[in-house]
Amino acid sequence: MNDVSKAVIAVDGAKVSFGAVKALDGVTLRVMPGECVGLVGHNGAGKSTIVSVINGGLTPHAGTVAGDGEQLERYGINAARARGVRCVFQELSLCPNLSIVENTRIMHRDLGGFGWRTRAAKIIATSLDTVFPGHGIDTSQTVGDLSIAERQMVEIAMAFSNAGTAPRLVILDEPTSSLDASLARQMLDHVRRFIAAGGSVIFISHILHEILETSDRIVVMKDGRVVAERQAQDFDHHGLVEAMGSVAKEDAGQHSSGGPSTAPVVLSHKTAGLPFTARAGEIIGLAGLAGHGQTELLLALHATHSGNWLPERDPRVTFVAGDRRLNGVFELWSILRNFSIASLGDLSRRGLILADEEEAKGADWKRRIEIRTPDMDNRILSLSGGNQQKVLFARALSTRAPIVLMDDPMRGVDVGTKQEVYTIIRDEAARGRTFIWYSTEMDEVRLCDRVYVFREGRIMAELAGDAVNEKNIIAASFEGVAA
């Protein structure tokens, strides 16, 4: 099986470190033609780093890269692309100011010459039609005008598109994080077709069932090493989680099915569809297909209940961002400052920051949600994506605001961490905090006491108690289509 001479790409003993962090500590990974390799691991395990090595963006400090049996010296981005290596990155990476066609031009360097627009349009349209049939995306649109799910679709289609050099190895780093179930399904189906036609795929996801059903072989990484590597059928959900080293609390996630809450209403909001209300101590889910107005509702709630001109003594709402690059982290700052920014009011006297209290509170929360860092004074960017997300959680939860707005906050958070956060949320809710939670993952929506289902910017249905299940949500999400 692990025959180097046949592997599309074979990385041997790759070591990469960033300062003191050993992102890769001797990783060996081979990808055969006609194979889908699933890559899993906790946040910061080194998955994205090995991806960077394979696509030529990063030269390992030790170890070798070989392709089709030959040692690749001076392996770089262009060499990788010439070998047909394509990549969908964890964060969105299109140019928002360019049209889809122009982005295609950027992605395919050898597409130049007279009439490139026509050719580019054809290439990307063909690919979109193949991967996401019935996508309804116009290729002359500017990427910035697309929804986040549409952008991700374009990126995926871009990776599978062929402008001269056919893609042989496509790397998908958490590609489904912004896609709803049906789009994710289409993509996974395409992956299988691509594999069947002899292509190779490296598939990274924290959504384990996707990995289990799509991959041929699964590689588990932990702390920069490969800790397990087996055929997919030899793993089950539980085994995978165990291999990743996370504490598996299987199915700890069932919503507290009491009767309808009688707690006081803390929030109500008029929307285009059904009215929105929230009671103290409730966990309210916002569900539906991605990009159908859930985030907008959260932003509206935040805007109407927080001041933009005067500082507030007692904030009403607090917000956990999903798109942490755009509206989450402060990149120049330390972890501690990122954590404390929302609760400075409590950590200060007459506008003066009390440094000791800030530090104590930071240390406390670092312990509570296990932020993986030696020092809270390190820069926030030294944390992995998932750990940055934890800091954002801690930032929101450490405020005194009775209402927590969450905009798909678990994007790219590993299973173990998720379970920890779920527990915290339930505890806080039990103490009377209200959570309003937009999620693209069904498991999370099922944790909620009550769920509003969105379609085209309107609230189409309200589900409560036992009615909160996958079938009802999907039914409500597609109501508009059936009508």
């Binding site: 935040h302 927080s306 001041g307 933009n308 001109w309 005067l310 500082p311 507030e312 904030p315 607090t318 917000f319 961002a321 755009l326 509206n327 989450g328 982290v329 402060f330 990149e331 120049l332 700052w333 330390s334 400052r337 920014i341 929302a342 400075l344 009011g345 200060s348 506008g351 003066l352 920051i353 004074d377 820069r379 930032r395 405020t399 605001a401």
Partner: protein, 316 residues
């Protein structure tokens, strides 16, 4: 890291080094004769750049695109109106200061109202306001130079323990600014806004309020500097602020403040302001013509930023 090495990691060290080198080169020519004189002159004239530079730094900290081009016009208006109001009477000094501050507040308010109401980039909004403010300055007294009250004139032109009084004022303002930036919630807020406005908003920061205060602060510092400068140079002139436009920006960036926002630094302003004065003195001392002098100034600015820019954005 050894302390010396760590010192070199500070963003402001380069402007200080540059200032020192230039000072040294100038002093060597006069064989040490004018050392004290030169140092005092440098402190005096740097003080004005420091005061306006600090205001500009707060605005620049608010993030990309934030810049206040109305500084020169504000200085001029505050100087002319205050001196006209005081009309050479010592008893009117306090009302004079107050009217200068009020002018600063009004200009700052206009600036931010435009930025907010019209959603235009601050660079354009403040430029528009500066035209109007400049007109107002012309209209108020048509360029007549009224002398400052004698007490003020004496205060601004004399020294205390060998240190120019205006430099002491600048030092007090700098300490206040440093304190704001490092120790208060407000300082955290402007830094957060400078790094990412949406993130700041979502973290519950009153973004508009903070930005408004910052533009007010900048305009008030500009008007205070204009007031002091008018008193120092024996009367307000309609063009007295003009060189402080580029100057205020230059001292901020040479001083090591991140142009992309979010990271400011008070000591650097001092180094940069001293440097900007001393470099002109040095080139004048060496008898170089205006052309060569301009070229050298430019090249030195670029070298300083190249030296300082090699490091990655500062750690916290």
């Amino acid at each position: 890291m050894s302390p010396v090495l760590r010192l070199f990691g500070k963003p402001w060290i380069w402007s200080w080094l540059a200032a020192f080198v230039v000072w040294f080169l100038t002093v060597t020519v006069s064989l040490g004769g004018g050392t004290l004189g030169l140092s005092q002159a440098a402190l005096t004239f740097a003080a004005f750049s420091i005061i306006v530079g600090i205001g500009q730094m707060f605005v620049i900290t608010l993030g990309p695109g934030n810049i206040d081009l109305s500084v020169p016009a504000t200085m001029t208006l505050a100087g002319t109106v205050a001196l006209k109001l005081m009309n050479v009477e010592n008893g009117m000094i306090l009302p004079g200061v107050l009217v200068a501050i009020v002018i600063g507040l009004v200009v700052g308010l206009c600036n931010y109202s435009l930025i907010k109401a019209l959603r235009i980039p601050p660079i354009i909004a403040t430029l528009s306001v500066s035209f109007i403010v400049q007109s107002a300055a012309i209209w108020t007294n048509r360029g007549l130079r009224i002398k400052p009250p004698s007490l003020l004139a004496d205060f601004t032109t004399s020294n205390t323990f060998g240190i120019p009084n205006v430099a002491i004022v600048a030092l007090l303002i700098s300490i206040f600014a440093w304190f704001l930036l490092e120790k208060t919630i407000y300082g955290r807020w402007i830094s957060a806004i400078g790094q990412s406005m949406p993130a700041a908003r979502m973290a519950g920061i009153p973004v508009d309020g903070t930005r408004l205060v910052t533009y007010l602060f900048c305009a008030v510092l500009a008007s205070v500097a204009g007031y002091l400068l008018a008193c120092f140079s024996g009367g307000a002139a309609l063009n007295m602020g003009s060189e402080y436009l580029l100057m205020s920006i230059a001292v901020v960036v040479i001083g090591g403040t991140a142009v992309a926002g979010g990271d400011s630094n008070v000591p650097g302003i001092w180094g940069a302001s001293l440097f900007m004065f001393l470099v002109v003195s040095m080139l004048n001392t060496y008898g170089l013509g205006a052309g060569i002098r301009l070229i050298m100034t430019g090249l030195i600015i670029i070298s300083v930023i190249m030296l300082a820019g090699g490091r990655r954005a500062g750690m916290r």
